[in-house]
């Protein structure tokens, strides 16, 4: 197992804040928008340097998405920001009609996704956003894993022409990907190579997958660990190449199983190369109040649960 270490933990939303500040300096077309959550989305740096390219929309998310679509006429690149719950479910028809069907260059950047929002509870812990967004034609869906990758993804999506949903979160998590990485949309990142099982993880679960890989290595199990930061377009080639080698897989995500990464992996395998797949994610239920760590433990989104899933997948392969 390849060794991954970290010296610092930061929130992925701060990676977004750093990315959009850099974009402000390098791309005059970039406009930052928010529905009165500038602080939560870490926009302070951008607002201070580029107040003329900051658009405050108030607590009116549907209008923000429509205004973002309109802003693209003439070449602006709007980054519309709010919590993941309000960036997707609340404004689905706006995204569907004005952004995706109209195919406009809008970047929807969503923080506080998933259970790791913690004590704010189920009203705000959206676990369906990846599913809703990946179902929309023309939409690209990205869920980076740490500060560095979120910053790199933020910068990369400005270069991509078309609608993008970029999902990140609130808690501080280890920074283990390189600061100088080039983010390639739709290109999975292979973190470890092994013959026994493929672990496909996204977002906060990538670090858990690495922890699981270390525990498995102690037992002599070497896993392919692959960071699927782009849910759509999915890197089917990387997924199939890995499973053709290992013969079984585990998916891991901080999202509902219905509609998430595991669901996409299952489709790829079913269509191309049927193989045992165990899925780590939330089983058709809303979240609840608790610390992020408590909730990840309770809903089974941890390295230990990934280890168990790997063993189950390998047993099924052997059967």
């Amino acid at each position: 197992m390849k060794k991954y270490t970290f010296t610092e933990k930061k929130d992925t939303r701060s990676g977004f804040g750093a990315g959009i500040l850099e974009l402000g300096r390098t791309n005059p077309d970039v406009v930052a928008m928010t529905a009165d959550l500038a602080g939560s989305l870490k926009l302070e740096g951008f607002i201070k340097e580029f107040p003329e390219r900051y658009v405050q929309c108030g607590i009116a998310e549907a209008n923000m998405i429509g205004v973002a679509a309109g802003l693209t006429i003439g070449g602006k690149i709007p980054f519309a920001t709010t919590f993941a719950n309000f960036a997707t479910g609340r404004v689905y028809d706006q995204i569907r009609q004005s952004v995706c069907y109209s195919n406009k260059n809008v970047k929807i950047c969503a923080s506080h996704a998933g259970l790791t929002l913690g004590e704010d509870g189920a009203t705000h812990q959206i676990l369906e956003d990846l599913g809703m967004m990946k179902m929309l034609p023309n939409m690209t869906v990205i869920n980076p894993c740490d500060f560095n990758q979120t910053k790199a993804a933020t910068i990369a999506i400005a270069e991509h022409e078309g609608p993008v949903y970029l999902r990140f979160g609130r808690p501080v998590v280890p920074i283990f990907t390189p600061a100088d990485q080039k983010f390639e949309i739709g290109k999975a990142v292979i973190l470890n190579e092994g013959p026994d099982v493929s672990i496909f993880a996204t977002g906060h679960l990538v670090w858990e997958a690495i922890q699981a890989g270390e525990k498995l290595a102690e037992e002599g199990i070497e896993a392919d660990i692959i960071n699927i930061h782009t849910i759509k377009p999915l890197d089917e080639e990387a997924i199939l190449a890995s499973v053709k080698k290992t013969g079984c897989a585990v998916s891991a995500e901080e999202h509902m199983l219905n509609g998430g990464l595991g669901d996409s992996v299952a489709q790829v395998l079913a269509r191309n190369y049927p193989a045992p797949l165990e899925m780590i994610g939330v089983h058709d239920t809303f979240g609840e109040s608790g610390t992020p760590a408590q909730l990840m433990e309770k809903y089974g989104l941890t390295a230990d649960r990934i280890v168990e899933a790997v063993k189950k997948a390998m047993q099924r392969k052997a059967a």
């Binding site: 658009v55 209008n63 429509g66 309109g70 006429i73 602006k76 028809d93 009609q97």
Partner: protein, 267 residues
């Protein structure tokens, strides 16, 4: 480019005949909705829109009125119109995006056109372009909450390049607006928010162009609303102010009578 010199009554008659022709050809509904707003489209899109301006038909169910007007402007061909409503067309019942230059966005899901138009107006302010944005809404459409989100955004951002045109015919999908949710398009509501509000006769092109010119002549940092008083189905006697012509298609006899009505009134 069409000039003031055109006989606007004839123009509005021609557009009505084209609208009726489209609905007859497709055996489709929303006729009353198109006849209600066709004079507003003539005044704004045909007579007042400059190259740098944008026109958004937010009440997308009146697409036939938009298509007839874009055809008049030469942006749509006879062949385009012949495909209206058919499989494979670029001109469906509700406008599809990016198929024609004059239709950059999908509309018809109500309450979307104003946020979009507001965004375009904001973009013009950011880039220093002097383009105006016309957004044509129906009075029933102002039931949608995005109307009021966008209205406050337009005020806060001083979008005096935004001109909302309201087709106020007093009828919506299944009833009089008064009975459904009350008069959400009441000019007093727009004034209370701070808009520059002018009322016009929605079937008098002169009244409409004057209203547009009047509000455009006030670059005072305040967004504009032209509340156009209209009659659903205007121009066809048996359709006027009748709810059922929101949806009904015409029989061949009804089409013939509609053509007769328009011909006798407008030519």
């Amino acid at each position: 480019m069409v000039t003031e010199a055109i006989d606007t009554k004839t123009l509005c008659g021609q557009l009505r005949l084209k609208v009726l022709d489209l609905y007859n050809q497709a055996h489709a509904g929303h006729i009353g909705c198109s006849l209600s707003c066709i004079d507003i489209i003539a005044a704004s899109l045909i007579l007042r829109k400059r190259e740098q301006d944008t026109f958004i038909l937010s009440k997308g169910h009146a697409a036939a009125a938009l298509y007839a007007s874009l055809h008049h402007l030469g942006e749509l061909t006879d062949a385009d119109l012949a495909s209206y409503y058919l499989n494979g067309t670029t001109l469906p019942a509700h406008p599809a995006p990016n198929k024609h230059k004059g239709i950059p966005f999908a509309t018809g899901s109500l309450g979307h056109g104003l946020p979009i138009g507001t965004g375009i107006a904001k973009a013009n302010k950011l880039t220093g372009e002097n383009g105006r944005v016309f957004v044509l809404m129906s009075d029933g459409e102002t039931n949608e909450g995005t109307t009021w989100e966008a209205a406050h955004f337009a005020m806060q951002n001083q979008l005096d390049n935004l001109i909302i045109l309201i087709d106020k015919n007093g009828l919506q999908g299944f009833g009089y607006t008064q009975d459904v949710l009350g008069d959400t398009a009441d000019p007093a509501k727009w004034k209370a928010i701070g808009f520059d509000v002018v009322e016009a006769d929605g079937h008098d092109v002169q009244s409409l162009t004057s209203a547009i010119d009047e509000v455009s002549g006030r670059p005072n940092g305040v967004p504009k609303v032209v509340v156009a008083h209209t009659i659903k189905g205007k121009g066809v006697s048996y359709m006027e102010d009748r709810l059922e012509w929101h949806y009904l298609p015409m029989t061949p006899d009804q089409y013939a009578q509609a053509v007769d009505d328009v011909t006798s009134r407008y030519f």
